[in-house]
């Protein structure tokens, strides 16, 4: 999912809403009997209920296809070929491997020895690709396939104290696959 597409969706929907809102505000100056609006209001409500209900159900069903959870990712990418153990600690990361191949399903098994952190993977251009919460007492597993080589960055995305913004580590992704 590209975050810029999400922004484009918001701006498109927001523009439609803003135009409708502004039109109604401008027309608030007119004199229209409320009785004559009540049937239209009911039709609009029913129409919107059907439209929003349909979109909501479609989004809900579609989202099953791209859930970030283990079973969905295994179905999409296959079983993970490489396991990486990740430990978060105020304010740094420990990874069992810091060079990983592109094109291979990798399972990051993350946990924390102190407070909550969040393991956020940023691509070389600085775009967030995915994340998983790093929780004390739990091991969360994120399966991910790097599409291309480069220097990626792991950032903590859950506020974890005064050094939160410094909790960063590079991750090298190579073109070669590991047997």
């Amino acid at each position: 999912m590209n975050p810029h597409l999400v922004l484009a969706a918001l701006l498109a929907l927001g523009t439609i809403w803003t135009a409708a809102w502004a039109t109604i505000l401008v027309r608030s100056k007119r004199a229209i009997p409320l009785d004559s609006l009540e049937r239209s209001e009911s039709r609009v409500r029913v129409g919107l209920l059907i439209a929003f209900g349909a979109v909501g159900i479609a989004l809900f069903v579609l989202s099953f296809r791209w859930l970030p959870y283990r079973d969905t990712r295994v179905a999409e990418f296959g079983a993970p070929k490489i396991d990486v153990k990740v430990v978060g600690v105020q304010w740094g990361w420990s990874l069992s491997r810091d060079r990983l191949p592109a094109g291979v399903p990798i399972e990051f098994a993350v946990n924390s020895v102190d407070v909550n952190h969040d393991f956020g993977i940023y691509d070389p251009e600085g775009t967030l690709l995915g994340q998983v919460q790093v929780m004390p007492g739990y091991t969360n597993r994120l399966i991910y396939v790097f599409r291309r080589p480069g220097t990626y960055t792991i950032r903590c995305l859950e506020y974890c104290g005064l050094g939160h913004h410094t909790m960063i580590i590079p991750l090298t992704v190579t073109a070669a696959t590991t047997k």
């Binding site: 608030s28 409320l34 929003f52 209900g53 989004l59 506020y159």
Partner: protein
């Protein structure tokens, strides 16, 4: 300006004075927390050098203080609106206010004196596992939250009992016969604002209980009575508490639109079947969607993750289809005049929907993977908070002050209200753009490539500051005649100019 006729005429003067105290305390807190927000954006833009320790302390105070302030203003407005038909106890309102403010005092103490910087979400075990603040400071924060929750519970219990007594029982004030059978009740139907008051009071009490369930084990942990509190349990309950208390702000303040907008459009907002059914749905839906904050916690049961997504979609339906469409229908063709109140209400409708769109996108699990914990989160939250809930609160504050002081608002005040919308929109838009560029939230230090967003946002915040400076002055100079106007049984019969 038009001062609406006969509004607040039947309200008890003592109750109105308590309600005004709530609204003014909320407005004052909002201004102070807003200034802290400006400092944070200056720092993130590289325009102010603030040590990270102070940034995070301010961030903690800004978040908790802003939620508490806007909710307080909304509760005051609700008390004033409900008091038109329902006998409330001024003493109980003052007691609830004092407990609530004592709680905010503890939060101030924890952050400003104790150095607590655990974030307003106080995500366990961070408050216990700090390097730069003491356990005492964390406990001050928790005591503050517990007192705020207690004040909220006292207020909500009083509102619930009072409205139920007025209409002959809980089922009647919630209009269950109309909502679930479509038939008219035997007795009088509550006005929408009383129905909404009962709805938010129920959720307010549940929210306060969730806060207690979160906090009591942590006090036991601090006292050494238990050895550990599970991080996932704690996160579920702190968000059931924190997310719901933030949601309450918007739903309470939406009740104020039901109360005031009819007076400015000269149209009645009836308790129809859609209104009754939708608001009864809100009781459940407001509590069902908090778990969208835990999508990245893969240990959370899948059923709760999916409930978070479908619950987030569902809660938008009654809000948009009933409240937003209802308000716009009331405005459309009504020959409504623009006053500070109607401008803020119009802005509030815009912000609630625009912020809601951002929230709905983020509530979709695959999208959340790349938007959560970025600036997208403060973006949508600030949109429906600053331009939604808070705007509705200031609309109602102006409505009460104008009605009781019988003073018309000025062209400058109306311009200031529109300026609030322009400043607010530009400010939140930069959050959205930063979020789409994956800028993390809650970072004290932004590298140069991220500083462009707060730098563009700051001038818009200054527009907000100018707007609010004028509106503050305007409210303050009318507050004395408004206070006097509460004597002798409420607002009397204010006349239209």
């Amino acid at each position: 300006m038009t001062t609406p006729s006969r509004t607040l005429a039947a309200s008890d003067g003592g109750v109105l004075r308590a309600a005004i105290a709530y609204m003014l305390a909320g407005f004052g807190g909002f201004l102070l927390m807003g200034l802290l927000g400006l400092l944070m954006r200056l720092d993130q833009g590289g325009l102010l050098a603030m040590p990270p320790q102070w940034f995070y302390r301010i961030m903690t105070l800004h978040g908790s203080g802003m939620v508490a302030s806007v909710l307080l203003a909304a509760l005051g407005g609700l008390a004033a609106a409900v008091s038109e038909t329902t006998r409330l106890s001024a003493r109980t309102l003052w007691i609830a206010l004092l407990i609530y403010l004592l709680g905010t005092g503890f939060v101030d103490l924890a952050t400003l004196v104790g150095g607590f910087a655990g974030g307003w979400t106080v995500l366990h075990p961070l408050p216990f596992d700090a390097r730069t603040w003491t356990l005492a400071a964390a406990l001050q924060m928790y005591v503050g939250y517990l007192l705020v929750a207690t004040g909220l519970a006292v207020f909500c219990t009083h509102i619930l009992v009072a409205t139920a007594r007025t209409y002959g029982g809980l089922a009647k004030v919630l209009a269950w016969r109309l909502a679930f059978t479509g038939r008219q009740p035997d007795g009088a139907l509550p006005r929408p604002v009383e129905l909404i008051a009962a709805v938010v009071a129920i959720d307010g009490i549940i929210c306060a209980l969730a806060g207690a369930i979160y906090l009591l084990p942590l006090f036991a942990l601090a006292a050494g009575l238990v050895g550990n509190v599970d991080a996932l349990f704690a996160k579920n309950f702190v968000l059931l508490f924190g997310h719901t208390i933030a949601n309450l702000s918007i739903y309470v303040s939406a009740g104020l639109v039901y109360a005031a907008l009819p007076l400015y459009t000269n149209r009645e907002w009836k308790t129809t079947w859609p209104v009754a059914f939708a608001w009864n749905l809100v009781i459940v839906l407001m509590l069902a969607n908090y778990s969208h904050h835990l999508y990245a916690d893969f240990a959370q049961p899948l059923a709760l993750q999916l409930l978070g997504e479908i619950g987030s979609y569902a809660v938008g339906l009654p809000s948009f289809i009933v409240t937003i469409i209802g308000a716009l229908t009331l405005m459309y063709g009504s020959r409504m005049r623009w006053t500070v109140t109607t401008i803020f209400m119009a802005l509030g409708l815009w912000g609630w929907v625009f912020g809601g769109l951002g929230a709905l996108l983020d509530a979709t699990i695959p999208i959340n993977q790349v938007m959560h914990n970025t600036m997208w989160v403060p973006a949508h939250f600030h949109t429906y908070f600053l331009l939604g809930a808070a705007a509705f609160c200031w609309a109602y504050l102006y409505h009460v002050v104008a009605t009781l002081s019988r003073t018309p608002d000025s062209g400058i005040s109306r311009a200031a209200a529109w300026l609030y919308g322009i400043g607010g929109a530009g400010f939140v838009l930069m959050f959205f753009i930063a979020g789409a560029n994956s800028v993390p939230r809650r970072y004290a230090v932004h590298p140069p490539q991220w500083q462009i967003y707060p730098r563009i946002a700051v001038p818009f915040v200054l527009l907000l500051t100018v707007s609010l400076a004028w509106l503050t002055w305007d409210v303050l100079r009318h507050i004395r005649p408004a206070w006097i106007g509460t004597r002798g049984g409420g607002g009397g019969s204010a006349s239209a100019e």
